[in-house]
Symmetry: C2
Subunit: 220 residues, 2 copies
DNA sequence: CAGATGAAATCGTAGGACGATATTGACGGA
DNA sequence: TCCGTCAATATCGTCCTACGATTTCATCTG
């Protein structure tokens, strides 16, 4: 097997914090006190510290010596840099996926279904599910195993968490529609259209970032 | 300050292992026994385990439950996937660097100097220095702070370590010349030429990977 | 009110303990 | 001889305690 038979405590803790960020349980900028977290999660300090070290590698938390760990809060510039890098990687994924001509349909259907479901209820939880399903599928059809390792999706989750209070329902729907467009073009095997769809989605996101108020971001 | 005032034990250990991989002290595939490493590095198990967790995040070591950590050894496919991703990111860096029209000259000069020095002595240590200096400068000129975080250079070091015994001096020089060409085009602010130079370098690397024997890689 | 100061909070590292699991090698039967 | 079983060993995962190092913050002093 490639995957471990059982999941260790460290992974569970890291997942708990990651999902806590997506659900709003942890807020960007929040200070993480070791003693408190060990109690709350019912684990030892060793395990927690390993998990925090793991998360700091993903750029989710920052650790300052003797000052502890805190959930990262991105500056506007960091978000722009992040989007710039992310776009290239998603473009690559879309290109590979469209070119593979594989059994994309069945895979991308999941993302499309999720998008449809989001259109119906439209709360935040299903929005997260759409994002997750979309990227999972995209990386799967792309067939490049380095892509999911490198792509800073967890860091993008930080961004999502930061801007959530300032994002309108219309913007969210528009973004989901962007995912749908990419899935569609990848499904069709149209490489150029897929890349264009990715570019359009990120152009839209960049525009949104430009319009957000300063309070949505960390100071430089 | 953005950087911590002092460096912690964890970082020192991680750096020691990383540089150990570049210098050949640690070999891809090698099993890392905690007890042995704690003695060798003169640190506690807590610190070592944090460091290993950190390195596993970079994809340098793999940790299997109850079986310990070992230096990753890439399969041919993993190398291809890695190069595919790496190319996109270096392309982005080159494009940004060339477009910025910043004070590139003074920055890239360092890389060019290193390349020239390598041409003279041509041992492996200076080759490593060239690589390091080149990427440092490139990311600096690109001005995107997410790039150095995301770019899997440490993983590429693994690849370099694996193929070292099978790489000829001519191939190494050719690769260094590729760096020089990229630095030159970025310096000139020629975006298209810079991207072409990156593409050429990676095409060459891909060709080399295709010609390497199976023993240079891990089994799938 | 600014700066010094000391106590409290928190982190970094070390090291020990013990259960859990994988690996190894011995053993016996087909 | 070969193969499966099983015990012994090595190693890891997790928890715990301890203590020095450093930051943080409230308090005191001028």
């Amino acid at each position: 097997m490639n995957a471990p038979a059982t999941i260790g405590t460290t992974e569970k803790v890291a997942d708990a914090i990651r999902s806590g960020i997506r659900t709003g349980q942890f807020v960007p900028g929040q200070h993480l006190v070791e003693a408190e977290l060990t109690l709350r999660l019912g684990i030892s300090r060793s395990s927690l510290r390993e998990a925090l070290r793991h998360l700091s590698g993903d750029g989710i938390v920052a650790i300052h010596r003797y000052r502890g760990a805190h959930i990262n809060r991105l500056t506007r510039r960091e978000v722009r840099d992040l989007l710039e890098v992310l776009e290239q990687l998603v473009r690559l994924a879309a290109r590979l996926g469209a070119a593979s001509g594989h059994a994309n349909r069945s895979l991308m259907d999941a993302a499309l279904d999720a998008a449809r479901r989001h259109d119906e209820d439209g709360d935040h939880r299903s929005y997260i599910a759409v994002r997750q399903a979309f990227y999972d599928c995209l990386f799967e059809v792309a067939g490049n195993r380095e892509l999911p390792r490198v792509t800073p999706l967890r860091r993008a989750d930080l961004f999502r968490a930061q801007i959530r209070p300032y994002q309108t329902r219309a913007q969210q729907d528009s973004h989901t529609e962007g995912y749908r467009a990419i899935a569609q073009t990848v499904n069709d095997g149209d490489v150029e259209a897929a890349e264009a769809a990715v570019a359009a989605l990120f152009a839209q996101t960049h525009a949104m970032v430009d319009e957000l108020p300063d309070v949505a971001f960390d100071v430089d």
